[in-house]
């Protein structure tokens, strides 16, 4: 009997990372800006995305969405009301989207005919942070009802985000939302991040967000 140490030095999610790198190349070649929206369940990702899609379409941009949930196509139906092409991904119990699911659900879509693709991840602040979907921009969303310390509780997601969106700003006051504290905590975990304070209901903050999308697409797309 001999004991041997075999050095592997291999990423555990290597398969996902390779697929994501392939997707990133495809998005880039098509001039498509891809965003991955991550938050807890109930933050208001769908309402925020619905408004984003409607306003982008009204500006003459071509935007589409993939939306992940464990079950049901409720969110896809809601988002499709915006007029944008939308596809639902049902993970059937899996707590995150991975690059393979994205590749499969993009089949048949001509990426060159799109400007923006939004991927609404499964509502979960933990697992989605490990899975690269080939996106250019990872967006962490947080609502005013969730507590200002959420970034401190879930540092992995907030640290890996490129932009942060605070939702439901229209009810910030009755919720006793401490804005300064929330901004401070986000910055503590992810120094220098762009933060958008929005309300999908009133439209507050949406213009700054849409301008950011246009700039990012021009810069990186």
């Amino acid at each position: 009997m001999t004991t041997r140490i075999v050095e592997l030095r291999r990423g555990i999610l290597k398969k996902n990372d390779e697929l994501a790198a392939g997707l990133r190349e495809r998005y880039g070649a098509a001039g498509l800006l891809v965003l991955n929206l991550v938050s807890s369940p109930g933050t208001g990702k769908t309402a925020f995305l619905e408004r984003t899609l409607r306003e982008l379409l009204a500006r003459g941009s071509r935007a589409a969405a993939l939306v992940g949930d464990l079950e049901t196509d409720n969110d896809a139906r809601r988002l499709a009301a915006s007029g944008a092409p939308v596809r639902q991904i049902n993970t059937h119990g899996i707590c995150h989207l991975d690059a393979e699911m994205i590749a499969k659900h993009l089949e048949g879509w001509e990426l060159g005919t799109l400007d923006y693709l939004f991927i609404e991840n499964v509502g979960n602040l933990v697992c989605p942070s490990s899975y690269d979907l080939g996106e250019k921009i990872r967006v962490a969303l947080l609502s005013v009802t969730e507590g200002e310390d959420k970034p401190l509780k879930y540092p992995t997601l907030f640290n890996s985000a490129d932009a942060a969106v605070i939702t439901k700003m229209d009810i910030a006051e009755p919720c006793g939302f401490d804005r300064a504290e929330a901004l401070k905590n986000i910055n503590e975990i992810r120094p220098g991040i762009r933060i958008f304070e929005t309300s999908a209901k009133t439209g507050a903050g949406m213009d700054a967000w849409l301008d950011y999308l246009v700039e990012e697409r021009a810069r990186r797309g």
Partner: protein, 117 residues
């Protein structure tokens, strides 16, 4: 709870790697996991026992080494280690930094195998 898919991926990779050593038994699988990898060791260990059943990894130990976050601090001109993940500031000069040099790793470092005669 994505630990099960992580463990399944470990089983696949290790099974593939030990195929080169016929008759070998896997004794230990060693991981390097960054403090920001959002993986819970207890969950990994729990899933590991189940997912390795009837595979070449059955009965092996999973050893998880947690790597602290290391940032590059521009003003100090050096890499600095953080004690936790609650504040991304240089512990020397308190300057915030987003230049991450370590902390997101999620990899199989090595495996220990026992070869037959």
């Amino acid at each position: 709870m994505h630990e099960l898919s992580i463990v399944s991926s470990i089983v696949d990779t290790v099974t593939e790697s030990v195929a080169a050593y016929p008759g070998a038994r896997v004794k230990e699988v060693r991981l390097r996991v960054g403090a920001l990898a959002s993986v819970i060791e207890e969950s990994l260990q729990f899933c590991y026992g189940i997912a390795t059943e009837d595979t070449p990894l059955a009965g092996s130990a999973l050893v998880v080494r947690i790597l602290p976050v290391i940032l590059h601090c521009e003003p100090c001109g050096m890499d600095v280690e953080l004690e936790g993940v609650q504040s991304f500031r240089c512990p020397r000069c308190d300057e915030p930094s987003y230049d991450l040099r370590q902390g997101r790793e999620l990899e199989i470092d090595s495996i220990e195998i026992e070869e037959g005669e």
